[in-house]
């Protein structure tokens, strides 16, 4: 996945390759960095007309004559890895690993075991003086470097062992950026490989865009399928209950028709008029010796109205009669419309209203 992202990002692949390590030095005026011409001149002094190989700067030491830069030339040893646009010497990564160790004071050896063999560096404090390797065995490497140090009059007894690990692509790219002079590939080969990498990155980007388009289309397609499925399910449910819905509609129409028919015939459903009960209730309240002379009943809105004339023996019977009539079921209102003497008695006209019992 990281390789795909690197390709899409147009980042170069960086690989390590075995190389020779030829230790040397360049002196510059105090405080100045070594120039390409200075390093090339130093190489010419050492190797004549041979092409200038890549190099690694090991460390610097200020002397009365100027700043002395220790370096390693790294002529390629064997074919370069084909799947990389930048190829660095293995010694560069070894130097990084050894420099990561804590530095004791004075001269000492730093030793690193890698899959390709053992590396041995001669260090003074945090400064690397020489780097050699890889040796098939650690002991041989230590012995060789101790001999070189002794030849230079350096006594080194302490040994520091570093820890090897495979560098990540990001660390290698950082190394390549920090040490461009260490590139093992020729300029022509580097340009050719970078061009191929750029072509592949372009194709990968187009494919990634196509994949993104397809993903969005597929995602929306999944939503489409879900929505279609949901709708189909609801349609099926509607179809399954359609007969029931039709039945409900038919029953509603039928009920409405029945209700209309009943509404038209609502008078036929009303109970028959209980005039006999009203007449009987009134007659039971007439006191002994009294009588009704006339009675007229009419229907009124929601009830009935009666006007009657009662013959009573004296005045005192009028109000008790009216009061007792109020207790008859169905009578809501009793009023004495008039009262007058009639012969030996009293004639009272009563108006009654009520609802059908």
């Amino acid at each position: 996945m990281d390789q795909v992202l690197d390709l899409l990002g147009g980042l170069p692949r960086v690989a390590l390759s075995p190389s020779h390590l030829l230790n040397g030095e360049v002196t510059t005026p105090y405080g100045q960095d070594p120039s390409h011409e200075g390093i090339e001149a130093s190489w010419r002094d050492r190797a004549g007309d041979r092409p200038l190989p890549p190099w690694i700067l090991l460390g610097r030491r200020d002397t009365p004559n100027g700043t002395v830069w220790r370096l390693c030339w790294c002529p390629p040893r064997g074919p370069s890895p084909t799947l990389a646009e930048i190829v660095l010497p293995e010694g560069l990564w070894t130097l990084e690993r050894l420099a990561a160790e804590s530095s004791p004071q004075g001269w000492h050896l730093r030793i690193l075991g890698s899959p390709g063999g053992s590396w041995v560096g001669l260090w003074e404090g945090a400064r690397c003086e020489r780097l050699h390797g890889p040796y098939p065995s650690e002991a041989a490497g230590i012995e060789r470097v101790r001999a070189i140090a002794a030849g230079a009059g350096i006594e080194s007894t302490a040994e520091v062992r570093g820890t090897w690990r495979i560098p990540s692509a990001r660390e290698l790219r950082a190394l390549a950026e920090a040490y461009p002079e260490s590139e093992l590939l020729s300029t022509t080969e580097s340009v050719r490989r970078t061009g191929i990498r750029a072509d592949r990155a372009s194709v990968a980007r187009v494919l990634a865009i196509l994949a993104l388009f397809a993903s969005v289309t597929l995602g929306l397609g999944v939503l489409q399928a879900a929505a279609w499925s949901l709708r189909r399910s609801e349609d099926a449910r509607l179809e399954s209950v359609q007969p029931l819905l039709d039945r409900v509609a038919a029953l509603r129409i039928s009920r409405a028709a029945l209700a209309d028919s009943i509404w038209i015939r609502k008078d036929a459903l009303a109970p028959n008029t209980p005039v006999d009960r009203i007449l009987s209730g009134i007659s039971r309240k007439i006191p002994e010796g009294s009588s009704l002379q006339a009675l007229a009943l009419e229907r009124s809105d929601g009830g009935w109205r009666v006007r009657t004339e009662a013959s009573l023996s004296d005045w005192n019977q009028v109000q008790p009669l009216a009061q007792s009539l109020r207790s008859v079921p169905g009578i809501a209102k009793v009023a004495v419309a008039s009262q007058a003497r009639s012969g030996t008695g009293v004639s009272a006209v009563l108006e009654l209203e009520g609802e059908w019992p």
Binding site: R231, V248, L251
Partner: protein
């Protein structure tokens, strides 16, 4: 067969190709493919939601059908009852008179005047008679308990010269008519 392009053209092509493809696909997606897909699933979701909200469950429909059938039976019964209490003959006034006149006669009413007619959905019987109070009560009770729907619209009693009571009665009964 590989085509060898000039270096500058090749660089331009590999730089522009992703942008051109992205732009074309974005246009295609936004204007055609994704637009159609979005419309389609939104319409389907909306229709499904509408159906889910509108279409009732079979159980509730069954309950509603049961309730409606119960209502229909009840209404049917009431309609049958209403029909049974209605005069259905071609001359409802005559039929009403034919039902009530013998009935009141048997109760002792001495009928003096009878007028029957049918108008505005009602058959009406107007009659005048003589009877004593108990006979009047009995006759009115018989009218009340008749299976035919009967409304007493007017009723009056007054003393008559023969020592009995004079009765004026108007009874109406609804005439059957289909809606």
């Amino acid at each position: 067969m590989a085509v060898k392009l000039p270096s500058g053209t090749r660089e331009i092509l590999r730089s522009l190709a992703p942008w051109v493809v992205a732009s074309l696909l974005l246009q295609l997606g936004l204007r055609v493919v994704w637009l159609d897909q979005t419309r389609s699933f939104r319409a389907d979701f909306a229709r499904a939601a509408e159906l889910r909200a509108v279409v009732p469950e079979p159980a509730s429909l069954g309950t509603r059908i049961g309730s409606l059938e119960k209502d229909s039976v009840l209404l049917d019964s009431r309609l049958a009852s209403a029909r049974g209490r209605t005069l259905e003959s071609s001359d409802p006034g005559a039929e009403l008179a034919a039902r009530l006149v013998p009935l009141l006669g048997r109760e002792g009413w001495k009928l003096q005047r009878v007028k029957a007619e049918s108008k505005a959905g009602w058959a009406t019987l107007d009659l005048g008679a003589e009877a004593d109070f108990e006979q009047i009560l009995s006759g009115l009770r018989r009218i009340r308990i008749q299976p035919t729907a009967l409304q007493v619209r007017r009723f009056s009693v007054r003393p008559s010269g023969s020592g009995r009571l004079g009765v004026e009665l108007q009874v109406a009964s609804p005439i059957g008519a289909e809606p």
